[in-house]
Amino acid sequence: MMYDTEYFIRFVNIFAKYLAENKEYLTQLDAAIGDGDHGINMDRGAKAALDRLSSINPKTPGEVMRTVGMALLSSVGGAAGPLYGTVFMRMSIAFRNNDKIDDKGLVSALEQALLGIKGLGKAEVGDKTMVDVWEPVVNFLKENIENGRTLPEICADVVALAEERMKATIPLQARKGRASYLGERSIGHQDPGATSSYYFFKSLCEAIGGE
């Protein structure tokens, strides 16, 4: 399958929709083990990104992702701003000037994004962060796409895996970010960054086939 500019614009719109719909929920999750602003910040960032996309009128997937990355970086704040900003910026760099991206290109870009997240935040799987969703999902994608499958074929499994990994953060003790100040009290709560990451992968899948 080939992913074009329109696909990525759809993806961003769907991601923004999930962030808007779940703003309260993400905020609640963040209030339990953080400072209660993840939902508010991501929603604000997503709206800023959509705003900028509509005024810029991007011509390539790379331009879409760079525009979103810069918008998130300057409007989200906190740790989520640099982390998600890096995700979109790294993907835009991977996409270069190409008009369309294939499955291998998409997964390669997601791998770069994951490296960016880990380089910036220094989190590993098990620290109770967005990496707990990103790493297993990207590994799963890599394995399958390398074996010749395409994203549309494995979407249901990708979303299920992301959801399972998001829920798997519940019993973990946080070792990064604000949640880590709580020590054992962070156990029993789902990580907000892992949750918004689940929406990210869900949106990548839902953007397929919507025209």
């Binding site: 400072d35 970086l73 070792r175 709580l182």
Partner: protein, 333 residues
């Protein structure tokens, strides 16, 4: 909950407009990106001191912009780190060629955003250094956490760094003395109530009538332990035990003290806290060189208090006493 605001999404912008209107002799405000800077910036030959963080901690940091303290402060959304473009643009405005020092509170987001801003400035030839403040003893400095939070010690870091810069010290020396503050300051906070972020509309955590939170940060996040309410003296004893365990003091040591209100605690109560803090320090023969009591680093309307103890030497005493004129702190001028 009732708040004296207009629309929640406008709180930071309107606060900045109000500050600019109140203190035109001391500060100017730049919007989009937002930052507060001293009216006489850039000051020739002087290192520019920049800090910032989420809004909701006023007077930190905007209230400390002016002569003898910060050159610029970058306010993020409430309890949210500012973004790199804020520090980048502020740096360009206040740098006089003598270099820039960032004072960064140790929170994952603050550190990331200030690091990115430093990279942006360095890419254009600016000389930027940073010192991270991590004075909160409630959190263990460990590989298994994001590290200690930067809290009340930041006020002393900004005052002392500001004095060094005002004296015309070079960047490495200003950094050295701010790092000395960072290495010799410890804090702990407690909360009787949570606070409510305007955009969220409800409190950040729940506390029963008979409970208090021990070892809070400044963003309305829950603390290390939730305990049954006790009289002030017992709570202060717990707080001082935590600080002194981490940074033992000896007879003859001199300290600067900050007995700080989280925003919703009456001054009367802060003085009651200070009474016990002073007794404890006097009891071990530590000299209280200077004491500040009041709201210096707050969490919106949270009821609670924090204690910050800075171990002093002659150099730090001189810089602490140096003149300062900002909206929130003024002496010697």
């Amino acid at each position: 909950m009732k708040k004296l605001i207009n629309k929640p999404e406008d709180v930071v912008k309107e606060m900045l407009e109000g500050m600019a209107a109140a203190h035109p002799d001391l500060i100017k405000v730049h919007f989009e990106p937002n930052f507060i800077y001293r009216t006489d910036a850039p000051v020739k030959g002087k290192v520019a001191l920049i800090s910032g963080g989420g809004s909701g901690h006023e007077p930190l940091h905007g209230g400390y912009v002016g002569k003898g303290m910060l050159d610029a402060a970058c306010p993020g959304n409430v309890f949210t780190s500012p973004t790199p473009d804020q520090m980048y643009e502020a740096g360009k405005v206040v740098d006089s060629g003598a270099g820039i020092l960032f004072i960064v509170k140790n929170y994952t987001g603050d550190v990331m955003n200030f690091d990115m801003a430093a990279d942006l400035l360095r890419a254009e030839g600016y000389n930027v250094e940073s010192v991270v403040i991590a004075d909160d003893v409630a959190v263990e400095q460990s590989l298994y956490s994001a590290g200690r939070r930067g809290v009340g010690g930041t006020v002393f870091a900004e005052k002392i760094g500001g004095a060094a810069a005002e004296k015309g010290w070079p960047l490495e020396e200003v950094k050295r003395v701010v790092q000395k503050v960072a290495d010799n300051v410890r804090s702990i906070g407690i909360a009787l109530t949570p606070c409510t972020v305007p955009a969220a509309g409800k409190p950040t955590f729940e506390l029963e009538e008979d409970e208090f939170e021990f070892g809070i940060g400044i963003h309305g996040e829950p603390g290390r332990k939730r305990l049954k309410m006790k009289p002030a003296d017992e709570i202060v004893q717990m707080m001082m035990d935590a600080i002194l365990k981490d940074m033992p003091l000896e007879k003859g040591d001199e300290v600067a003290l900050l007995v700080n209100g989280m925003g919703g605690t009456p001054l009367m109560e802060l003085y009651i806290v200070n009474r016990k803090v002073s007794q404890i320090l006097d009891g071990i023969g530590v000299k209280r060189y200077k004491t500040l009591v009041g709201d210096y680093i707050t969490s919106l309307e949270m009821q609670g208090a924090s204690v910050t103890v800075l171990k002093l030497d002659d150099e730090l005493k001189e810089l602490l006493d140096a003149p300062v004129h900002t909206p929130a702190l003024r002496w010697g001028i």
